[in-house]
Symmetry: C2
Subunit: 202 residues, 2 copies
DNA sequence: CTTCATGTTGACCGACCGGTCATCTATGAA
DNA sequence: TTCATAGATGACCGGTCGGTCAACATGAAG
């Protein structure tokens, strides 16, 4: 039932917000429970450990992402390169909205978590790696279609896709460090200029 | 004297290693003291707080960086675009060496700290921002020289420089998440394809 | 020999950490 | 009506956190 899982959902969304806005280590279970109006024992009824919570948070966010503006941006009806612009725009507006409300740019939850915990927790690292891999596939698709349509010459679309994702994460990192979402808008469009050639056989 | 500052130096380099290999929040002062063979009271004789330690660590690393392989990579005698290749190579070999020794990729200390603490500590954030700004100046210089030499058409060299730095941070992030330094070598060279055009007056 | 600054020592502080647990309540099937 | 199960409660655990402090060692200047 809905009510049964309501507690779990409240924990999940509260944790996601806090992890995103601060960091994994900096947010305690007590704080999550207080904000979600859940008792600690209740928390551990749904999540065996903080690590499990993090896993669930990543899954949750990845789902919402995939079915949300990522699905919009990578709409098959859009010309491939417009999807890139859409993605940059979406990132910009999201970060800007967050900053307008909270005064600071949270950045990308996945990027944040990846840098914070991937040296400490291999399970979470590989989960985040999977999220990135899946995201990179969208870029890959778009690039292949752009080649098919003759919009760009053939290239190593898989590597270029990964490079584009890296660039996206990189500008979000820089923007967060400057606490200025405009960085995303200023640098973002350069994502379309990234190219990795096909390795030619020798 | 040397010996007088030896304790401070030991704290500093131990903290740098631990922060780089794990994270700011995950490393306690006790652990730093134990590894550096320093008493806790002694620690607080040199650093008023953990935040001050972080500041010193960032300064320390930024100095070593600037006078180390960054100075080498951006050697004025190298052709501008070869400096970019050099920088990517240096990042690759450094991360690879670290992984071979410790089994995991530490990534970029500045990037790690930036994503972890820039929403929590504005002082540290702005210090990290300054480090990035300084690093971006090297790219800027190289780009301006490439234009002067007629190697590339004129472009918005400041924005492109920032984009290149973002890309570098992005591929290190991705590589760390995949725990595979090869990502840097595979995607890195694409840094040379990044371009942001000059905004034309309308 | 005294004074003073620089540094060292380790016990100590309250707060908080992630996590446990016995106990209680609500619900719905048999 | 009974009983099992899912969930809620909050006290409690050992350990660690960042940080403090009074006492003490050392060595150079007067």
């Amino acid at each position: 039932m809905n009510v049964e899982h309501d507690t779990r959902t409240r924990i999940l969304s509260t944790a996601r917000e806090l992890f995103h806005g601060r960091s994994y280590a900096d947010v305690g279970i007590k704080e999550i429970c207080d904000l979600a109006k859940v008792q600690k024992g209740s928390f551990y009824h749904f999540f065996p450990s903080k690590q499990d919570l993090a896993m669930a948070v990543i899954d949750d966010m990845a789902d919402e992402w995939a079915h949300g503006f990522v699905a919009e941006a990578f709409d098959q009806n859009l010309p491939p390169f417009e999807r890139l612009d859409y993605m940059i725009d979406a990132a910009y507006y999201w970060q800007k909205a967050a900053k307008d409300i909270e005064g600071r740019m949270p950045g990308c939850l996945f990027g944040n978590l990846a840098l914070e915990i991937s040296t400490r927790d291999d399970v979470l690292r590989s989960k985040l790696n999977a999220v990135f891999h899946k995201a990179s596939r969208r870029f890959h698709e778009a690039l292949d279609q752009a080649v098919e349509l003759g919009e760009i010459p053939p290239l190593d679309s898989e590597a270029t896709a990964a490079a584009m994702l890296a660039f996206l994460e990189g500008i979000i990192l820089l923007a967060k460090t400057r606490n200025d979402p405009e960085v995303i808008r200023d640098l973002g469009p350069a994502i379309k200029t990234l190219r990795i050639e096909l390795a030619h056989p020798n």
